[in-house]
């Protein structure tokens, strides 16, 4: 039984990763999870300089999901390299760094600073709905996405994953633009923009008014988009959105994802990632499936 997958030449023990922003840099969950068991760790978005993020409240619950408007608070790339990457170095696990910025230059800055580190891949967040400048603006227009992808690819030393926003009319256009510009992989979906109103206080629940919807509620949308993209591009896909169990992970893989990420569900079950890895192995055993790779995109 073989759970390994590879994306752009990088080998992963198994296809289960943590979704950016939901697992810190691993430190916070290492009491719960054996870090080396993970397919990969995808870190919280990091910018060239520290970002304070949005005012609170930043999170709230919705039916089978949650909204967040963290606003990409991060300590900046210097602290990140010094502290977070240094911490992760002690583990034998591929590290994927999620990169954010307000301008193309911001992104390039971070990408360059990471070029002589041992991170395995870069995930470019052009899909965060919670910041006013940059981010999602690059992820909702195919021309802008093509352009930023191309510029990042020109300087990046590591393979580049473009993380797509579901807040678009046609996700395949975005996937194709990323592929055409040379992206090594795409990851999807980031959160869907949502809103909650407190009818008693007659106020938005989140200080930012809107937030990003994630969790099981959005899973059907995510599976659909992964399927559409898998049929539109030939670069590998990392699928995410509401994964809570091995069954959910398999849905994404069968829809065409080479790997999957677990996001909000880490908060609900901090053991989720390891349980999913175990569940995946059990599924393979139970069904006499040799490799997880056979399952990628098997539902047409």
């Amino acid at each position: 039984m073989d759970t390994t997958v590879s994306i752009a030449g990088v080998e992963f023990k198994n296809p289960v990763m943590t979704a950016s922003g939901t697992f810190g840099s691993g430190m916070e969950y290492c009491d719960f999870v054996d870090i080396e068991k993970l397919g990969a760790i995808v870190t919280k978005g990091v910018a060239n300089v520290p970002w304070p993020g949005n005012p609170t409240p930043r999170v709230t619950e919705t039916p089978s999901g949650m909204l967040n408007a963290i606003g990409l608070q991060n300590p900046g790339i210097d602290v990140f390299i010094e502290r977070d990457l240094a911490f992760l170095k002690q583990y034998d696990v591929p590290v994927i760094v999620n990169v954010c910025g307000k301008s193309v230059e911001d992104y390039l800055d971070v990408v360059e600073r990471l070029s002589d580190t041992n991170v395995a891949m870069l995930e470019i967040n052009v899909s965060c709905p919670n910041v006013k400048e940059g981010a999602i603006a690059f992820g909702q227009k195919k021309e802008a996405l093509f352009d930023i992808t191309k510029r990042i690819k020109a300087v990046a030393k590591q393979p580049v994953i473009m993380k797509l926003s579901p807040n678009v009319t046609d996700i395949t256009e975005m996937a194709k633009a990323a592929e055409a510009a040379g992206a090594d992989a795409i990851s999807l979906i980031n959160t869907i923009t949502g809103m909650k109103i407190d009818i008693n206080r007659r106020k938005f629940v989140l200080a930012n008014k809107t937030g990003g919807l994630s969790g099981p509620a959005i899973r059907p949308v995510a599976v659909r988009m992964v399927y559409q993209c898998a049929n539109a591009v030939s670069i590998p896909i990392i699928g995410m959105g509401g994964i809570a169990s091995a069954e959910d992970a398999l849905e994404f893989i069968m829809a065409g994802a080479t790997a999957v990420s677990v996001g909000a569900y880490n908060f609900i079950n901090p053991y989720a990632v390891t349980e999913i890895i175990d569940g995946l192995e059990q599924y393979l055993k139970r069904n006499g499936t040799e490799t997880v790779r056979e399952l990628i995109g098997c539902v047409k």
């Binding site: 009491d31 999170v59 300590p75 908060f267 609900i268 901090p270």
Partner: protein
Amino acid sequence: MEYRKKETTYVVSQEELSKGIYDLRLQTPAAAYAKPGQFVGLYPPSDAHLLMRPISICESDSVKSELRMVYRIAGEGTRLLSTLKKGDAVSMLSLLGNGFPVSAAAGKKVAVMGGGIGIPPMLYTAKQLKNVAAETEIYLGYRDGDTFLSDEFEGYGTVNRVTEDGSVGYAGNVLDAVSERGFIPEIIFACGPMPMLRAIKNYAEKINATAYISLEERMACGVGACLGCVAKTVKKDAHSHVNNTRICTEGPVFDAKEVEI
């Protein structure tokens, strides 16, 4: 010494202590490790309400392995928790947060202040201060004569009940009562609504005392990963490198001087 897990605990008992306020006792080995001011994350018995609800530890009995929480129904999550009955399983994430630095009160004149649903964590705090502080005055602020939990503070210091409507004890807020009694604490431990905590922060600065206050914010992860629960800090926070600190991890208890509230 660190107790950090998500586990299934069982309800030892749950009763309505006062209108809409519930007293829940859970069987868990975490009781042996709990510090006053720490909190737990209780997952509502529901598969659509997914996030844990942060609830402070009100008492901990390490012999019986029982944690006690007292909470108010604030919305659907706490309403669901209130339906739990003896023997029911409940998922709990614990132990969360730093807790009150009880030892900092050694040999000092201490004021323990609680307001409304901020009173429960002060019970465990007052208990632990008993053999540490030189003198403990306890101020418990309520809206009206429903002074739930206040009797249980007897024996841990001078208990002063304060009610907004003046129906029981001192009239006004906890600081009104402090000034009426002419008590000047060297150190303050407090939990309660934001206006009360703000007033305490100012008061402590004025009298040059140290105030440890317990803050609240909506939480998702409870363990410092999501950055959902931050409070503004005066200086750059060591973790975030911006003026934001995580209430669930660096808090919920802060030296009032260090946070902007």
